[in-house]
């Protein structure tokens, strides 16, 4: 009788172990998938930049530095390999675009251009999409980290060396920027 009870407990434990392990793998894959979604939006965003630079170049003669900033930020965004670098580069691009659009305010002809308006619309929509995919990524990171920090799943996580993921954060720079603007 006792042997059966012990066998029963062992079988249950094994099932629980399997289920927890598979759950953690699912959560980790979701984080990866969510990250690739951010990547899609970031790619979309950087692919719009050359068109924007092209559209603006003819008008903006004196503020070449602003355009260079934008191009530089785009390059580092394209080169970013992990969430941390991508977050930094993306925040840099946001800042550079902000100054570009501020400069554009001084050129009524540029502002009136349909092409420029369409690009501006598209870019601001992409920015919202980046923010949205970032939010989804963070939700998934939260789920994974919660499982890796609460017992008993934390034990399984340690056993198979699962790692906590990093949130996609807004940079200190971006936060400071908002304060200066007001």
């Amino acid at each position: 009788m006792i042997t059966y009870i012990i066998i029963g407990i062992v079988v249950l434990l094994a099932f629980w172990l399997l289920a927890t392990y598979n759950g953690l793998v699912t959560l980790r894959n979701r984080v990866r998938e969510a990250w690739s979604q951010i990547d899609v939006q970031l790619k979309r965003r950087s692919s719009l930049i050359p068109n924007l630079v092209e559209a603006v170049k003819g008008y903006v003669k004196h503020e070449k530095g602003v355009l260079e900033e934008v191009t530089k930020a785009r390059t580092s965004l394209m080169d970013a390999k992990n969430p941390h670098d991508a977050a930094a580069a993306d925040n840099m691009l946001t800042g550079a675009l902000k100054s570009l659009f501020a400069v554009a305010e001084n050129y009524p002809q540029l502002r009136a251009s349909e092409n420029f308006k369409a690009l501006q619309d598209e870019l601001s929509d992409t920015e919202t999409k980046v923010a949205a995919s970032r939010q989804f990524y963070n939700t998934n990171v939260l789920d994974l980290n919660n499982s890796l920090e609460t017992v008993p799943s934390a034990w399984i996580g340690q056993m198979f060396s699962f790692k906590k993921e990093e949130f996609f954060k807004a940079s200190e720079e971006e936060k400071a920027d908002i304060k200066v603007n007001f």
Binding site: Q37, D125, T128, K129, F136, N140
Partner: protein
């Protein structure tokens, strides 16, 4: 118990309460089926065959409405499918919130009606559809619309069409079984001559009369719970409870009823589309598909401290 104040707390509380209701509903269904079956057999379980029949009938009826839920409802409400170029603002808004929720983009429909309302349907996220009246698109600002869209997408993400279909099958089974029993009482069943337990018979008659009403009340309680849940999960998407709160107040202040809605489709909308029929009293409140606006706004304003 600690005070419930964030959207996370509201989500887990509403999820928990849904499962509590579902748990008691299952026990209730089993008890009713048992009582009526005993009544058929006069003391021995004799009605189980009929229970199976009722279950299959209710199951088939509800499977049809579950599987083609989007087509049926959209057909009844006269909604038109739109593309990005027809209304880029609302299209982008839905697109962006879908990314945040991690849901595939649903089909977007517009109902040409000046009433302010919206609904979501579809058997799973891949077959989801979301519909807006042209009135709601005109009268709400962007943040309010975001709140509404997030609420609707939460219904999709929470698989509410599936849950409500399961509930409908249970309610339908109980209603059909009670109906079979009452008919057999009126027209005389094959067990009439057998002498049996009178107490069981009385219990079965009482169950057959009361159970369909109780089942409907439970169904409505689940529906109200899911509305509160969609409000709270919607807030997790927009992180701006006031947007939905203000949208709900605007929608309820607008007294124009939505002509294409009826009692069968009312529970799908963000607010009860049959204006002027919401009952305020507690007893009548049990028959509402949606919680009163004041309750929903109060819950949303509690989440204010979230961001």
């Amino acid at each position: 118990m600690t005070k419930i104040n964030t959207a996370w707390d509201h989500v887990s509380q509403n999820l928990f309460k849904t499962w509590v209701i579902m748990f008691f509903f299952s026990i209730f269904a089993v008890a009713v089926i048992y009582a009526i079956s005993m009544g058929f057999g006069r003391g021995e379980i004799g009605g189980l065959g009929l229970t199976g029949m009722a279950l299959i009938m209710a199951g088939v009826m509800n499977f049809v409405s579950y599987f083609w839920s989007d087509k049926i409802v959209l057909g009844i409400s006269g909604a038109k499918l739109i593309e990005k170029k027809d209304n880029p603002e609302i299209y982008r808004l839905v697109e962006n919130l879908c990314i945040a929720a991690g849901l595939p983009l649903p089909k977007i429909y517009i109902i040409n009606d000046t009433a302010t309302n919206a609904f979501a349907t579809g058997r799973d996220p891949k077959h989801a559809a979301i519909a807006f009246t042209s009135g709601i698109l005109q009268k709400l600002n962007k943040q309010e619309l975001e709140g509404v869209v997030a609420h609707e997408l939460s219904h999709v993400g929470n698989r509410d069409t599936l849950l409500m279909s399961v509930v409908s099958v249970l309610v339908g089974t109980i209603a059909l079984l009670s109906d079979f029993f009452m008919r057999s009482m009126l027209f005389g069943g094959r067990n009439r001559e057998s002498k049996g337990n009178t107490v069981m018979l009385v219990v079965a008659i009482a169950a057959a009369i009361l159970a369909p009403i109780v089942a409907t009340l439970i169904q409505l309680a689940v529906s109200r719970r899911r509305e509160l849940l969609a409000d709270a999960s919607g807030v997790l998407l927009t992180r701006y409870p006031e947007g939905l709160a203000s949208a709900l107040l605007k929608i309820s202040a607008d007294k124009e009823p939505l002509e294409v809605a009826n009692r069968g489709t009312a529970h799908l909308y963000i607010c009860n589309p049959l204006k002027g029929q919401e009952a305020k009293a507690w007893l009548a409140g049990l028959f509402n598909t949606h919680p009163p606006i004041e309750v929903r706004v109060k819950a949303l304003r509690e989440m204010e401290g979230l961001t």
